[in-house]
Symmetry: C2
Subunit: 774 residues, 2 copies
């Protein structure tokens, strides 16, 4: 269902031909037919298989590595360690990581050596023949203990990191903590979030080919941000970005896990440099779960203050985030945690203290929601708790406080569009909230949660945030959209197709969108993360299409002897404005232009989109409007809890999501369904089980993600608030869809059986035990 | 040696930093190290090997093809014939060819069926299991007999082709034949030229991947003109060009043999469509010699008239060209034969009759020189004969008649630059011609020949002839040149590097040139043939660099607060014109521009070059100035003939070549040396030996090309006439270098032993026999 947000004066009765239509995904058939080529499919002449030897200990000094036996194994082409390669420390925030550990292994599965072999079996065999002598050290596995004086120090070489605290955030807005004096009700609780594996179908994969003759590297990789990761890779290898060519074919899912650099990229490059042959590394599922990088975990001590009438007064949070053994993007993720959920509401006073802490556990990275999911879980749980304490319906409490169009939030976000209250009301209506709250059976519950998310964020670089695209129109009148953002399965290519078709006035069947990124030749794209694909990348595509259309119109005007302002293109035909008779077709004008004027070259439209000036790089207190537009979501979950087993069955999820404008409603629904699925996994089952820092459940047999049979009926309501800065009013959809699911489910569980889960996941065992202890 | 043509007022004392310098080839190290990837290296998931079953008969009706046994062979995935695929007739001039023959096999090795198998052995085995029932027909193997009434008809279905004559050319200029009345000396003779195999290191090769889901085709191919051949391929497959993506990696040589479409391209596509898997076809050397396409052969009945003082009065030629079984580009090649060599001289009267004839022999295609080599052989032989008859030194005779700057030739060519007389004089001086003519030993001889060639020709399409390029400057100030022309080993990438560096004011170490073409994303290029790479493609690169530089200057001017016209770039630094202090560097301005203005996208310069209006598509009598500039060459050969064996030893070749401007003198020399080698092969040994239409010498063991030990000392004199329409004055080099070699050698043989060879090649056996019969 697609509805307009109210009041919404910008809403134009849609005369769009392609925007807003359920155009089938352009890469669906190719993928279903098995014809799409992924990184794992790449084969190059003389290609070797690379494998990484990993530490069995959470913390150890590496005394020696003996590679003699491994090197002598027939079929082994090289064995590398920190001793025989020159590597450079890297990291998106802090350069604390090496491709291969040198002095210390800092977590179970930290890479200490790597081999390149003629086949996988030989590579595996060689790993066993590498003899590493460790001095076992006492690990620190708990982030709170890690901050205590005398705790083991994960990075002794980083003098500036005190007590393992690699990043500290502290600020107050409004009256800060003092504002609690005005509150009638103060709630305090601790919330704990689990890690989560991305569970993409395609594990981390790359093929590196070092051209030793020219000292250049070509890398095929499964990655969401080939241009961005090139910066990191260049750093780790000690070469310049322009020496690296990244080629991204089809991607088998990302969900944030393929935004930063993981060490297989530089390791494959080093193995290729040593052997002079291409080297492929593809993680096994076990390796991806134990040495890939999962979602950040947080311990959140949250305090919120409310007036009797439900008005939110203040929030204060102390966050302890476990970065694991290397910092990665953890500070930015925690920066998101402590900001975003506040912007859902008109919350005037905020105080935050957050520490990002090293432990001897697996390092973390981006995951759909990026810190927002974690804090949303805490805050929306607490708001629900407050509603029950205040005797106010949870829906009403949220409607009373929720942000509105025109607001500037406590963190400086400018809401030029906001359909949140519509999202809440519509989800409540459609779910029959009121009746279900009143007439519910025992063990049957309903819960609500809200969320906001960015649509791209100006957070990577102080100077810029942008995307570029080209739209080429060839002599046959066919158009091609070329850009540098990554289709990772989310449907971006189809969205760009629709945007280009609408802007050009051409039919989608006459337009193609290239499915790959090649940093040597593709227009620049920062990558698909931060829900930026549609708004940032889409604006670039739209600008390129506009440029191409402008050229078409100018050429046609000249040829037809008519003023360019009097011409328009509809369905690939030129008309004098307001007249019905077609004057020429796009293929006719394209053919003439290409051949007579451009020497055979296509008409090339270019779009270089950069966010407007009201979108800023946030200041040191993370204050500032760093996205063009913000997507809102309200989700209502209806559950049935079996008190005999503790099993939570999710029956229905209603999602009201303000996506600005649904370029492709069916795909928005698809994104929402995917987000709900991952949110459900986060709520009910996904977790890592540890034994002294070692992850025990490293296969899908024991790392449980929701299966299709587990899924509830999902009812989607797309609220179109029409964001002025978005292409055709569009904002984003994918991450906003994930953030509220887990907490809506948890709130419904409370509604059903009175059990308040504060530490995810709400496994059957946990729910059963808590019911019993009520 | 590089010299300026005289008189030459445009010649500027060179202040170039990169143009005119011997920059090392940018792809040399990669190729020498074995790291460059060629089509034969491409592997794709599930890839099959394709092979073509070929006719053993020169002419036969195909009665039936039984593929049952072959289809049942384990490992065979499909067997295709004309009966189970839908194919369309194609051809660059006449659509007379099918990917697989249907009713008739028209030459020995005509393809009649094809298989795709899991490996090469299985494919070969399957070919033997295909049972083709033929009705043997009487072939016609001689082009002159083919024109006689009652001769077998090669293409019975082409009603418009009478007596196998597929193309007829006939025109006269000036007084035509009547002009012979003014001549004091009329010479007449018949000249016959042999076929020639291109002998590229990499045989014909492609990998086709039909995406059955989207009905699109991706093809990796070893080809000189991926954009151009796409048109032909689309026709043969019955799909649109935009359904095809051509990717051209490194090419192991072309020499014209990879300009047109050969049938392995559509056959591979059909095999892939049938199997749903990628299919690779790589010709064996034998297959390439017998079923690839060699140089056109011509029988030339030539008549030339001279005044006593050596003035050329008239030329009349009757040409019979053997197209073989399919027409291919033969009409255009013969069109070149009957035009180009005339433009070397101020020849006022010309008459031409030419027939392109079908025979039941191997079809022909482009080969370096493209018909020019053949007629040059005849005319320069006859001019030599006339010189001896008139008692005029062959050098003097040529100097008396040769074209000059400012001339419009008898065929309408406009010579805006011409250094031919310098070429002749300098070659004569350096070779010590006068002394060697006077004091020569017996069996020692010296001979001269001249030539002219185009630098791109507006002959493919009436509306256009052009090329496009992009020059991207990234945030680190590094530039990338991207274009759609093909590096086939000739050094084009390095020429583009130098042109871009010079135009940008940047160092070559800061510039890269992409070595591949991908029709999905590369700027348009017509391809590298007709010696168009430097002038046409180079102009596009220069325009793109100029555009990028203009943008750099504008951004710098704005940032520095200085007028754009007062700024200049030298060695990647900005200066106020005339001042020595640098104001900023290219990396500084690029960084700022890319990040602050372009949202991260590089500065993108575009160049769409199309030839100026004075370059026209020739009229139906092939009249008109169809190239921007023309390269001239004079070659002098010094030989020693062993009268006991007839063996011709070439001792020295002096080449004076007007290349306009040597962008890279060493590479010009390399091109000239390669051209001379191929010309020597054409002169002395390369030929096909036949048995009833079957080629007997299909291996390098018996198809003899010159070896390094056979090569003479080559003395190169590069004459810089500075062509106003060329990039930095450059014209072309590769084809002009080949055309005069064979005839210079033949003229030297006559000078040495008095034997006039009129039918190439001048094998030892032939020379020996003619000496004996003197």
């Amino acid at each position: 269902m697609v509805v307009s947000a109210t009041p919404n004066t910008e809403q134009i009765v849609s005369e769009y031909l392609f925007v807003g239509k359920n155009v089938p995904r352009i890469d669906a058939r190719e993928k279903v037919a098995g014809e799409a080529i992924f990184t794992t499919d790449i084969m190059l002449p003389g290609m070797l298989i690379g494998k990484i030897k990993r530490s069995p200990l959470p913390f150890a000094r590496i005394l020696s590595i003996n590679t003699d036996k491994a090197s002598r194994l027939p079929g082994i082409k090289t064995v590398i360690t920190a001793q025989n390669i020159i590597q450079f420390a890297y990291g998106p925030i802090i350069a604390d990581e090496l491709p291969l550990a040198d002095k210390y292994a800092r977590y179970v599965c930290d890479g200490v050596a790597a081999v390149a072999a003629v086949d996988e079996d030989t590579a595996e065999e060689a790993l066993d023949l590498i003899n590493v002598e460790y001095e076992e050290l006492t690990p620190v596995l708990d982030p709170e203990k890690a901050m205590e004086p005398g705790a083991p120090v994960v990075h002794p070489e980083l003098a500036e990191v005190k007590q393992n605290i690699v990043h500290h955030i502290e600020f107050a807005r409004g009256e800060g903590e003092a504002a609690f004096n005005h509150a009638d009700l103060i709630m305090e609780d601790r919330f704990v979030t689990p890690p989560q594996h991305h569970a993409y179908l395609e594990t981390q994969a790359c093929v590196a080919q070092w051209h030793t003759s020219s000292d250049k590297l070509t890398m095929h990789l499964s990655h969401q941000a080939p241009f961005k990761v090139r910066i990191q890779l260049a750093r780790a290898l000690g070469i310049s970005e322009s020496q690296i060519r990244m080629i991204q074919p089809f991607i088998g899912g990302g969900f944030g896990g393929k935004v930063e650099m993981q060490s297989h990229l530089p390791v494959a490059a080093f193995l290729s440099r040593k052997t002079g042959r291409p080297v492929k590394i593809v993680y096994t599922r076990e390796e991806d779960i134990t040495a890939g990088r999962p979602r950040m975990t947080e311990i959140i001590d949250l305090k919120m203050g409310f007036k009797k009438d439900g008005t939110m007064v203040a929030k204060s949070a102390v966050v302890t985030a476990d970065a694991g053994a290397y910092c990665g993007p953890a500070p930015v993720i925690v920066g998101v945690s402590v900001i975003r959920p506040d912007c859902v509401y008109r919350l005037p006073n905020v105080k935050v203290v957050a520490n990002v802490v090293y432990t001897n556990k697996i390092p973390r990275t981006a995951f759909r929601g990026y810190g927002n999911t974690e804090m949303a879980w805490a805050m929306e749980s607490m708001i629900d708790m407050a509603a029950y304490r205040l005797g106010i319906d949870p829906i009403e409490l949220r409607l009373k406080n929720c942000s509105q169009k025109g607001d500037v939030t406590v963190h400086g976000w400018i809401l030029n569009s906001c359909g949140l209250s519509d999202c809440i009301k519509l989800a409540a209506d459609k779910s029959d909230w009121k009746n279900k709250k009143q007439k519910r059976e025992k063990t049957h519950g309903i819960g609500v949660a809200c969320q906001v998310h960015v649509s791209g964020n100006r957070a990577v670089h102080p100077l810029y945030e942008g995307s570029a695209a080209m739209v080429n129109i060839d002599r046959d009148g066919k158009a091609k959209v070329i850009n540098g953002e990554s289709e990772m399965g989310q449907g971006m290519l189809t969205v760009y197709l629709q945007i280009a078709a609408e802007e050009l006035g051409m039919d989608i069947k006459d337009i193609d969108v290239l499915p790959f990124v090649d940093t040597a030749i593709s227009p620049f794209g920062m990558g698909t993360y931060g829900s930026r694909g549609t708004l940032v990348g889409g604006n670039a595509v739209r600008l390129a299409a506009r440029d191409a259309k402008g050229q078409l119109l100018r050429h046609a005007a000249e040829k037809l002897g008519i003023g360019v302002d009097d011409l328009e293109i509809k369905k690939s035909k030129f008309y004098a404005k307001g007249l019905l008779k077609e004057l020429a077709t796009v293929p006719e004008i394209a053919y003439d232009t290409v051949l007579r004027k451009l020497g055979g070259a296509p008409i090339t439209g270019r779009g270089e989109y950069t966010v407007p000036d009201y979108v800023v790089y946030p200041d040191k207190n993370i204050y500032g409007n760093y996205s063009v537009g913000y997507a809102f979501s309200a989700q209502i979950a209806e559950v049935q809890v079996d008190p005999e087993t503790g099993k939570v069955k999710v029956l229905n999820i209603w999602v009201g999501e303000d996506i600005g404008k649904a370029i492709n409603p069916k795909m928005c629904e698809g994104q929402i369904e995917g987000g709900v699925a991952q949110g459900m996994g986060f709520a009910l089952g996904e977790n890592y089980y540890w034994d002294k820092g070692k992850i025990l459940n490293s296969r899908f047999a024991d790392y449980k993600i929701p299966l299709s049979g587990d899924m509830p009926k999902i009812h989607t309501i797309l609220v179109e608030s029409i964001e002025p800065g978005g292409p055709f009013g569009a904002k984003s959809v994918g991450e906003a869809a994930m953030n509220p699911t887990a907490v809506a489910i948890a709130n419904a569980v409370y509604d059903a059986v009175g059990v308040r889960i504060t530490d995810l996941p709400a496994t059957s065992e946990k729910v059963y035990n808590r019911i019993k202890s009520l």
